[in-house]
């Protein structure tokens, strides 16, 4: 388990923030901090949560599947893998080149 910070942009429709937080609570994870605020025409929430590497992927994919989520970024855990701070986490096959390279390895 490692502490991880996620930054999620979303449209502030009814229940969107709760759906984002529910992805954490349904896994029984401890939510260390939450900060949500308006960000331009949208909203953004920053959450700090202790997760396993597998849960990072699960959370990001679940957040992306929420109708009004626009973007998911993550920091700490990805630094270890040489990825830039607040790197976006698109659905995996959006980056076909990297996926293909990994599959053929």
């Amino acid at each position: 388990m490692a502490m991880q910070v996620f930054h999620i942009r979303y449209r502030n429709a009814q229940g969107t923030l709760m759906r984002i937080l529910n992805a954490i609570s349904r896994r029984g994870l401890d939510l260390t901090s939450v900060h949500a605020e308006a960000a331009g025409t949208e909203h953004a929430v920053t959450v700090q949560v202790e997760v396993t590497p597998k849960q990072i992927g699960q959370l990001c994919r679940e957040w992306y599947a929420i109708v009004d989520v626009i973007e998911v970024r993550s920091s700490a855990g990805l630094r270890e893998h040489g990825v830039a701070e607040w790197a976006p986490l698109p659905p995996a096959s959006a980056n076909a080149t990297e996926s293909a390279r990994a599959a053929l390895a």
Binding site: R61, V67, S93, S99, A100, A103
Partner: protein
Amino acid sequence: MLKGAEIVLRCVRAEGVDLVFGYPGGAIMPLYDALDGSGIRHVLTRHEQGAAFAAEGYARATGKVGVAIATSGPGATNLVTGIADAKMDSVPLVCITGQVRSAMIGSDAFQETDVFGVTLSLTKWSRLVRTIDEIPEVIAEGFHWARSGRPGPVVIDIPTDLLKAKKEFSGPVKFTPHAQASEAKAEGAFSDTIVALLQKAARPVALVGAGAKLSGAIPELRRLLDDLNIPTFATVHGLGAVPPQAPYYLGMVGMHGTRAANMALHETDLLLVFGARLDDRVTGDPTRFAPNAKIVHFEIDPAQLDRVRPCELPVIGNLTDTIPEFHAKIRPASLPDFSGWRTVACGAERAELDPRGLAQPTIRFLDELFSRLPQDNVVIADVGQHQMWAAQRYRSSSPRGFITSGGLGAMGFALPAAVGVQLAKPETCVLCVSGDGGFQMNIQELATVYRLGLPIKMVIVDNKYLGMVRQWQQLFYDRNYAETDLSDNPDFVEIAKAYKIHGWRLNEAAMAQFPVSEETGDSIDNFLRSPEPELLVFDCHPEANVYPMVPAGAALSEMVFEDE
């Protein structure tokens, strides 16, 4: 000027809905008051859960959105199991619930429940309507999300005062979706990568799930599989996507899958997944699932990727787009020769064993029943042992021919779902197979069947136990049959009679002779072809078990085939 209730119904009608299922109550009364003349037929079930399952059955049989209506509080909470079921099995379902007056919300008023909150984690999208002005937009958006992408359940909660209020109505609106994060599409390079993976593979297989049906990509998928000609199997919701007679088809995979399918999945070095979640009933022990395989996962919902085991190549998108793109790169003649592997995987040594043991008469009964079905048929199975026997024995090339609660495993699903299926397909022979436990969970829907005169053929496989739980108690809890004994069941034939439905009973002895006697065969034929609803109770051995079985926590290769 129209009332809010009339606006709701006009907008729902504009979405192509002409049939809804529901149960009236205080807060939703204005909507019921407006039903006459709306062009929408309402079917009264005898419980809100029945309405949700009936709407699901309608949606699963047609691919259209199913609609269920309930009042606030207990009416709405009774929908919850159906909503959860629709979420797990990707069923387009819109639930419209009445809510207490706007001014009373949050006051713990009579029959007030936070339905929006209760269903938040179970819905794809939901809204508590706040003004009469937003009704058209909310209805249009709700239907859009229910049917788009990976379909799912939507809840629209409307305070009763908004249903009674009036406003000028200029007509239904169209919802224009904003770009979604999860709409990121696979890029063309994936096809070349899969072709390269196939060139290096020795034992490739294909796994087909519900997504193949939901996407409408069955023709594209079948053409692709014919060209690939590699061992192929299906999840319980994928049954019917591949014609059972296809020479490369190995049947159902997973906990109660065929020996051939599970062995091939365990031995493969390249697994192509088409629209399946790879849930634990399919994978067995995830750490030993397809241990030597690279996985290519075609999926519309990014949330389903890597859930159980990482895949090497995710291909996100609608199968109607991604399969043809991949297929265009396939040159069958240039693929490696997989005939040796196909011979092993599809060979006689791995063929299904003849039914034996205590379950033999029941399996023979189901074989007899299914073999006598008219060509145009749908089988709806409830949840439990009979569900798995039915999934193993029913053979159909119809993608929507086998309907069951697969993900949630909700007992009581089949009877109300059959109501929805029969209404969607009035000319089709609809066969509802339940256990004695599950049938009693929504037995009140016999009244709906009678009232509507639906010619549903209902079968209860009666072992006087909660059979699947008892099987696990036998195998994993030292035969401690705690609270699974249903030997004091009512007489189901008499129960049916009370609902003015003809019922009859068949016992195991009738299956001692196989094929069955002419008399038994005629009885089954008459049952299936009756223009009336009919109930058939089949007495199953109390300790009959479902095999093959992959014990919980075991690998797919560790199937058990009979009682020790």
